[in-house]
Amino acid sequence: MRKLKIIKDIRLKKSTKFLILLLTSILVGTANAAIFYSLTMQPQVTVSTPVIKFDSAPDEPSGSTVNDAWCCLTASSYPNATLTYEKAVYLNNTDGVNSHSFRLRYVSITPTNTTADVANWDSIKFLVYNSSGYVFSLDFIVSGNNWTLSPSSGQTSYYSIPASTVWWIRLETLSPATATEGKVCNIQIAVDVQ
């Protein structure tokens, strides 16, 4: 009885009391939910094709691999000359009913900034086209030994591709006259789909 009185005499701020009450409620609520009953969820995960997917295009560089959700494009870059792959890869919205939004987002690039090998390129551009023409692009421009991205955030805005429509990516490469043959640039770009 005396112990209870001591506890009652402890003075707490109202906010502290409220916090204790809240945490106790969460604890009780969680415990109750576990005791009362349990639901059963049986998810079935099926391997399927994404609604927007890559497809092979007429200008896919030889040696490239194009799968539904992943593609590797093995392009060339000529010194002092612009090389254009007009239709390097298709982006196909296979959803027959709904449009979907997507964007290009930079993930990684090698050679990395501040290394001398970066100067083997002037620019590498990924331009998205549809049947009406140019839509948007993600560009890698070299300045000194550094890559400058355009847009500078490294990601484009989202653009809506209509149902059952194919867009394509045009790849443009340009190296300076002093570029060394055999140098390789690897880029990773995510195509985020909503």
């Binding site: 409220f18 959700a69 002092n80 000359a81």
Partner: protein, 196 residues
């Protein structure tokens, strides 16, 4: 006074309660909108390569071939009377694949003095293909038709016909476009024509 203080305390408690609930709900249901997101991955790999089509100097006029044989500057004299330069530049295919080539004028300066300027491809077997035409200072054709550049070792020549009405200098910047047949993959080399 006491009543006001109690009201303020109750208000503060309510705000705390609502804010806490929002935070909890935010953590519990991050995708409350119901959208599904996914990402495809594209991995381009770009290798610096030597082009299989290169430029070589001609025997007429003066041509300067820049590093790697992928750009050139061609100089020729434009007189008051027509002058024909049959071989100002050579386009050489070193690859086992055939290509198609054409010229596309993309910028210029002081071409008003050129009463006649024709830039064309020519070859003994395929004949002549007019690519860029200027008549009385204006373009009548800026982009030429595709012209065959057969597999290695093949050579095609660039010829120029010129006539000017004064002794100033004109510049025409032209892309030599090299296309893989049946595709839309092409390279662009920069050619600068200087007509004095």
């Amino acid at each position: 006074m006491q009543k006001n203080s109690t009201y303020a305390q109750k208000l503060r408690q309510s705000i705390w309660l609502v804010a806490t609930l929002f935070v909890l709900l935010g953590f519990l249901f991050p995708n409350v909108g119901g959208n599904t997101y996914f990402a495809l991955l594209m991995e381009p790999r770009t290798t610096v390569s030597s082009p299989s089509v290169v430029l070589q100097a001609g025997t007429a006029g003066n041509s300067t071939i820049y590093m790697n044989g992928t750009s050139a500057r061609i100089s020729a004299v434009a007189n008051l009377t027509p002058a024909y330069y049959d071989y100002v530049l050579k386009v050489v295919n070193n690859a086992s694949d055939p290509w198609k080539i054409r010229l596309k004028a993309y910028s210029q300066s002081n071409i008003g003095r050129l009463s006649n300027c024709t830039i064309c491809f020519q070859n003994a077997s395929d004949g002549t293909s007019g690519q860029v035409y200027i008549v009385n200072g204006n373009y009548t054709q800026q982009t030429g038709p595709w012209y065959d550049l057969p597999a290695s070792l093949a050579e095609r020549y660039i010829a120029v016909t010129l006539q000017a009405n004064n002794s100033e200098v004109s510049y025409i910047n032209v892309y030599l476009e090299i296309l893989i047949p049946d595709k839309t993959t092409y390279a662009q080399y920069v050619l600068t024509f200087e007509f004095t």
